[in-house]
C-alpha cells in the first residue's frame, strides 16, 4: 500500500535503477511557486536586512530550476519511470534542527531553503548578536504572495528563534531532531554534538574553516583580478569561503609585488564609496603590521583594502580587508595549506588544473572551484552530501 500523502518523484541513480523520492508536495508545483514569488520579490528593492548582492544571490538560489538541480545532484537525473520497481525510496527525515552562528551571512536562509525542500519541519536557531536573516526571508516570501505549498512550508514547517548557547531550547531541539546541522566554531560544534539526541541522528557540522586562491601568474589578467576582487570584497576575509590569500604558484616574489600593486590600481579605478570607518581603521592597522613585518603593502586610496606581497606568514595578516599575495612553488603551497582549509579557489588554465586538483588529494581541502564560485553554497558542502542525508532510505530488494 502506498503512502497516499506522499508524491513520488523518480530519479535514476548511478547503478541504473530508480530511486523514488517521497515528498509531501509535487516538486514541479513547488518550483513554480518559487518562480512566481521570486519574480515578485525581484521587482522590489532589496529589504534593508540584505545587501543588494545578498538579495540577488538569494533570489537566484531559489529559482525553480536551481532547486530542481538540488534533487538531480542528490539523486541523479530525473526519471519518469515511476511505475517500475524502485531500488530505494527516499523519505525525508521529519524534523531538522539548524544552529547558526552570529556573523553568518546567507547560510541561514540558504540552508533553510534546502531543508524545507525536503518537506521537513525545520527549526533554525539564529545567533543573538546578529540580524536574523532567515526570519527576514520568511517574512518576505510570505508577504509577496507565496502559493499554498510555500506558505505551508515557510509558515507552518519553519520555526526560527534567536537564543544563546545556554538556552534550554538547544537541548530540546536536539532531542527532537531527526537530523542536526551546525554552523560555527569547532568548540561550539562539539558542544552541540554532545547535546541529547536520538540514536543514529545524523549530525552535519560545518565548523572552523578558511579558504584561499591558487593562481597561475600567467592567467592573472585584469579580468581575472577583477573577478577575484569582486569575490574578496563581498565580505573580505570574514567567511569560511573567503580568500584569505592569493598564492601565485611557481612564481617569483616580484610577481607577488606586481600583483599586489595591480590589485590596488584596479580597486582605486573602481572608485567606490568610502568604507565604514572601522574598516578604514582596520585597513590602516593591517598596512602598518605588514610593513612592520617587512612585507610590501599598498593601501587603496580610500583605505577600504590593503594588498600585501609577503612571505608565507603573511597569510595570517590581520585585517578584514587585507589580502596577501604570496609567491610559492606548488609543493610549498601544498605544505603550507592551513589545517582548517576548506576551499581552494583557482585561476588557471585547464592544463594546470588537473595536476593541481590531484595534488590536493593528500591535503584537507574540501573544495577546488573557480574563484568566482568560492562562495557558492549547495547541497554538497564541506565534502559532505548533507542535503542527501536529510533523507532516510527504504532499501528494496526483490
Amino acid at each position: 500500500m502506498s503512502d497516499t500523502s506522499s508524491v513520488y518523484h523518480g530519479f535514476r541513480d548511478g547503478n541504473g535503477g530508480v530511486v523514488q523520492v517521497a515528498l509531501p508536495f509535487a516538486l514541479d508545483a513547488l518550483c513554480a511557486e518559487y518562480d512566481e514569488v521570486t519574480a515578485r520579490m525581484a521587482r522590489r528593492t532589496a529589504p534593508p536586512a540584505f545587501s543588494r548582492d545578498e538579495w540577488g544571490y538569494l533570489l537566484g538560489f531559489m529559482r525553480g530550476s536551481a532547486l530542481r538541480a538540488v534533487f538531480t545532484q542528490g539523486f541523479g537525473p530525473a526519471s519518469d519511470e515511476l511505475d517500475s520497481m524502485p531500488l530505494r525510496i527516499a523519505r525525508p527525515r521529519a524534523h531538522v534542527a539548524i544552529w547558526l552562528p552570529n556573523n553568518v551571512s546567507l547560510l541561514g536562509p540558504l540552508t533553510t531553503t534546502l531543508c524545507l525542500l525536503t518537506g521537513a519541519h525545520v527549526r533554525a536557531k539564529a545567533g543573538t548578536g546578529s540580524e536574523n536573516l532567515t526570519a527576514h526571508l520568511r517574512d518576505e516570501i510570505l508577504e509577496n504572495g507565496a502559493g499554498p505549498i510555500l506558505t505551508r512550508l515557510w509558515q507552518q514547517n519553519l520555526t526560527v528563534e534567536q537564543f544563546d548557547r545556554h538556552d534550554p531550547r538547544n537541548a530540546d531541539w536536539s532531542s527532537a531532531a531527526d537530523a542536526r546541522i551546525f554552523f560555527g566554531s569547532d568548540t561550539a560544534a562539539l558542544s552541540v554534538e554532545s547535546l541529547p539526541h536520538k540514536p543514529g541522528t545524523p549530525f552535519f557540522a560545518f565548523a572552523d574553516h578558511s579558504s584561499l586562491v591558487w593562481a597561475d601568474p600567467t592567467a592573472l589578467d585584469d579580468a581575472a583580478l577583477t573577478t577575484l576582487l569582486r569575490v574578496f570584497r563581498i565580505y573580505g576575509k570574514a567567511g569560511c569561503t573567503s580568500p584569505q590569500s592569493l598564492v601565485l604558484i611557481d612564481a617569483e616574489p616580484k610577481d607577488a609585488i606586481a600583483t599586489a600593486n595591480r590589485l590596488k590600481d584596479l580597486s582605486d579605478a573602481q572608485k567606490g564609496t568610502n568604507p565604514p570607518v572601522h574598516i578604514a581603521s582596520d585597513s590602516f592597522m593591517a598596512d602598518q603590521v605588514a610593513r612592520a613585518n617587512g612585507w610590501h603593502a599598498v593601501r587603496t586610496d580610500n583605505r577600504d583594502a590593503v594588498f600585501v606581497a609577503g612571505a608565507s606568514a603573511s597569510k595570517d595578516l590581520p585585517g578584514l580587508m587585507s589580502l596577501s599575495v604570496i609567491a610559492q612553488p606548488r609543493e610549498e603551497a601544498l605544505a603550507t595549506l592551513p589545517d582548517e582549509i576548506q576551499t581552494v579557489g583557482h585561476i588557471a588554465g585547464p592544463d594546470r588544473l588537473r595536476d593541481w586538483a590531484l595534488s590536493l588529494t593528500g591535503s584537507r581541502a574540501l573544495r577546488f572551484v573557480p574563484v568566482q564560485q568560492m562562495h557558492h553554497f549547495g547541497p554538497f558542502w564541506d565534502g559532505q552530501p548533507f542535503w542527501r542525508g536529510l533523507f532516510q532510505d527504504l532499501d528494496i530488494r526483490i
Partner: protein, 348 residues
C-alpha cells in the same frame, strides 16, 4: 630626560618643547626599533604636531614592538584585556619609562583626588601581581593609585572569578580609616561592590566612610547589562559616606601612565606632556569640534614606540578653555568607532 613632566599637568603648555621631544622620540625609536623603522622609513622631523607619525593601537596586538639601544632595561610586558578579537596588545615596559609614567599618573590623579594618602582597595586579585614577565592592564590601572595609598588591600581571591570577593579584606580596609580609595574596572566595581550582596555589617560601615572611587574600562559589559553610567554613580554614592566621589578615567595600555579622568564638565583634559588630535577616520585630516578618531601622544615611552597612537575610539577635541577651569587640550569621549555587523560565509 625631558622636563615637561616637571610642569603642572594642566598649566600653560610649551608646544615647542613638546614637538621637539616627540620628534626626538620618533627618531630614537626609528633608530632602535627595526619594526617601527619599517613602518616609517622616510621620517623627517616635523614642524607641526599634526604631521607626527602614529601607529594604530591594534598594531600592538600583532607585533611586539621593542626599542633597544643598549641602555634600555625592559622589565615586563603590559597586556591589555582581551577584546572580541581575542588578541591583547603587548607593550614592552622598561624601567625608565615606567618611572616617568608613574610620575605622570600621579600628577594627573592628584589634580583630581588630591595628595592625601589613604587605604587603597583594588578590586582585583593579588596573584595578578606575581605573573612573571607580564602585567595585566587591570592590575596596572589599579597600581597607578599606589602613590596615594597608605596600604593596599586586594578585593578578589582570583582574577578569573570576579565573584570570589574577599570580604574580610574589605572589612579590614573600611575599618582602618574613615576615608578610602577604591579602584576597579567599571564592570567589576558594579558587580562586586555596587550591585553585590555585601555583608550587612560592611554595608553599614560603608555608609560612614568617605570613598573616592576610581574606575576605568569595562563599560561594554556594563552596557550589555543595561546599566547606565548615571545608575552606577547613583548607586555608589548612595551606599557610601558623605563626601564620597567618583572618578571615571579613560586610558589605554598603549598610552601607559596617561590617565584621562572626566572633569565635572564632562571633558577629559590632556596634560602638558601629552597631546590629543581628532582625525577624520578616512582621510586622517585633523578636525576639531566634531566626532573624530582620537590620536593620543605623550613623551614618556622609551622601551617601545607607543608615544603616538591612533586609537579605535571616537571623541570630540577642543582647544578652548573648559568650564572646569583647566586649560589646554580637552576631549569628550564618545565611545568606540561605530562598527557595522561583519558577515561571512557562503554568499555570491
Amino acid at each position: 630626560m625631558n622636563t615637561l613632566l616637571d610642569m603642572p599637568a594642566y598649566g600653560p603648555r610649551d608646544d615647542t618643547a613638546f614637538l621637539a621631544e616627540m620628534n626626538r622620540l620618533t627618531r630614537f625609536h626609528i633608530n632602535h626599533c627595526p619594526e617601527y623603522a619599517r613602518v616609517f622609513p622616510g621620517f623627517t622631523p616635523t614642524t607641526k604636531v599634526e604631521d607626527l607619525p602614529f601607529l594604530h593601537v591594534s598594531a600592538f596586538k600583532n607585533v611586539l614592538f621593542q626599542t633597544q639601544d643598549g641602555t634600555i632595561r625592559h622589565e615586563r610586558v603590559l597586556n591589555s584585556s582581551a577584546t572580541s578579537s581575542n588578541l591583547s596588545s603587548q607593550i614592552a615596559l622598561d624601567r625608565d619609562s615606567t618611572a616617568l609614567q608613574a610620575k605622570s599618573s600621579r600628577a594627573i590623579l592628584s589634580d583630581f583626588i588630591g595628595e592625601a594618602e589613604q587605604p587603597l582597595i583594588i578590586l582585583d586579585a593579588k596573584s595578578a601581581l606575581v605573573q612573571r614577565g607580564t602585567v595585566s592592564a587591570r592590575i596596572a590601572a589599579g597600581l597607578a593609585l599606589r602613590p596615594f595609598a597608605t596600604r593596599l588591600y586586594f578585593g578578589l581571591a582570583s582574577q578569573d572569578h570576579d565573584s570570589a570577593v574577599l570580604w574580610d579584606h574589605l572589612r579590614d580596609a573600611l575599618h582602618s580609616s574613615d576615608s578610602v580609595l577604591v579602584y576597579g574596572f567599571t564592570w567589576v566595581l558594579w558587580r562586586i561592590w555596587a550591585d553585590s550582596d555585601m555583608p550587612a555589617d560592611l554595608a553599614e560601615r560603608l555608609r560612614d566612610v568617605k570613598v573616592t572611587y576610581v574606575h576605568s574600562g569595562g563599560w561594554k559589559k556594563l552596557e550589555s547589562e543595561r546599566v547606565a553610567p548615571a545608575a552606577l554613580k547613583d548607586k555608589l554614592l548612595g551606599i557610601s559616606g558623605p563626601g564620597s566621589q567618583i572618578i571615571d578615567y579613560y586610558g589605554l595600555v598603549e598610552q601607559n601612565g596617561l590617565l584621562y579622568p572626566e572633569c565635572v564638565a564632562g571633558w577629559r583634559h590632556v596634560p602638558v606632556w601629552a597631546d590629543v588630535l581628532g582625525r577624520d577616520p578616512i582621510s586622517h585630516d585633523v578636525i576639531y569640534n566634531t566626532p573624530a578618531q582620537l590620536q593620543l601622544m605623550n613623551v614618556t615611552p622609551r622601551g617601545a614606540p607607543y608615544h603616538s597612537v591612533l586609537t579605535e575610539d571616537q571623541g570630540e577635541v577642543r582647544r578652548d578653555p573648559c568650564a572646569c577651569g583647566r586649560s589646554g587640550r580637552r576631549f569628550k569621549l564618545l565611545g568606540r568607532l561605530p562598527k557595522s555587523e561583519t558577515r561571512g560565509c557562503a554568499n555570491v
